[in-house]
């Protein structure tokens, strides 16, 4: 399967600041050594470069359907693992090490909440609260479209059901699972 690189490279070079960036050490699959990488989190993708400022990323890690767990290891401090428990056996897990406790915790928190599914679950929740708080009639997206606020044609008109609820339905679990750090 071909992942079209243009689509991904464009996102990796976006002008907006990434959701998180910094130095992490990534365990190599082949050599088991930790290799220093410059990492940037954008949306549900973790990009990594050999060095900060390099043009093309070495690679990316998809953060959907993954769990991020702290590793309690005396020999490998500040490590955490990104794994895919629901994936087929043989799925790769990524072992990462941060430079200190604070950095590790920050990264684990950021990566745990990075999935599209999680964002969608939050949106459903907030949309419900928004309606419950007495906002009547049109949704904010419709209002913004009417006022010409949202950029271009992105503000579609919603039906009775929020568009993002037409998804997998796993959202209910996602929110509960996330914060058992």
């Amino acid at each position: 399967m071909k992942l079209h690189e243009t689509s991904v490279l464009g996102y990796s070079r976006a002008a907006a600041p990434p959701d998180r960036q910094g130095r992490l050490y990534k365990k190599s699959e082949r050599s088991s050594a930790y290799q220093r990488r410059w990492c940037e989190l954008r949306g549900n993708l973790l990009f990594y470069w050999e060095r900060q400022g390099d043009r093309e990323p070495l690679g990316l890690i998809l953060l959907e359907g993954c769990t991020v767990e702290l590793q309690e290891s005396a020999t490998e401090p500040f490590t955490f693992e990104i794994s895919y428990p629901q994936g087929p056996p043989g799925h790769r897990a990524y072992k990462m090490a941060a430079e200190d406790q604070a950095s590790m915790e920050g990264w684990v928190r950021a990566l745990s909440t990075a999935s599209f599914d999680y964002l969608r679950a939050l949106l459903m929740e907030l949309e419900g609260q928004y309606r419950a708080s007495g906002a009547l009639g049109t949704t904010p997206l419709e209002e913004r479209a009417a006022r010409g606020g949202l950029a271009g044609a992105q503000a579609g008109i919603e039906g009775h059901q929020p568009w993002w609820s037409a998804g997998t339905g796993k959202w209910g679990q996602s929110i509960c699972q996330i914060f058992t750090l």
Partner: protein, 149 residues
């Protein structure tokens, strides 16, 4: 650029937000329209040969534009290469419009902007930050004012 094909394959098997058989043409010169099973899962668009279980390819739907072309046709182009368009010909104009709307809303960035908007509005209406209960108020990704709405 390295990525795990297994992760993507796994994603392509998840329930889709939207899926249909659509005629598709790649941006390459001389490309012809071919019938593909097109499947939208989170912010990825997968496309399959109609009789195969594994996708031929995937497009990440970020930093892209969904354009209405002629009747029944829409295209996807990426900001870095605006002239290279992936074309899709639907059966009906209605199906075409449905896909355009679905794809425009399928990006993480679009959802993030919506979330920030709701957060701001709820805070204004109730005086409380709705993200506080999840312990994520300080996450950079959800901050107001750091992104253009």
């Amino acid at each position: 650029m390295r990525y795990s094909e297994r992760e993507l394959l796994s994603l392509s098997r998840q329930p889709a937000e939207k899926a249909a058989e659509i005629l598709m043409r790649a941006p390459k010169k001389g490309s012809v329209l071919k019938k593909r099973l097109v499947k939208l899962v989170v912010n990825f668009l997968f496309y399959f040969r109609t009789d195969e279980a594994e996708p031929i390819g995937a497009l990440l739907l970020e930093h892209c534009k969904i354009n209405k072309e002629e009747e029944n046709v829409f295209s996807i182009s990426f900001i870095e290469e605006p002239d290279r368009k992936y074309s899709f010909e639907c059966d009906t104009e209605e199906q075409c419009q449905e896909w355009i709307e679905a794809l425009r809303r399928a990006s993480y960035e679009f959802m993030r902007r919506s979330l920030i908007f709701y957060r701001n509005e709820i805070q204004k209406m109730t005086g409380k930050d709705p993200l506080e209960q999840y312990g994520i108020s300080e996450e950079a990704r959800f901050q107001l004012g750091t992104r253009k709405l």
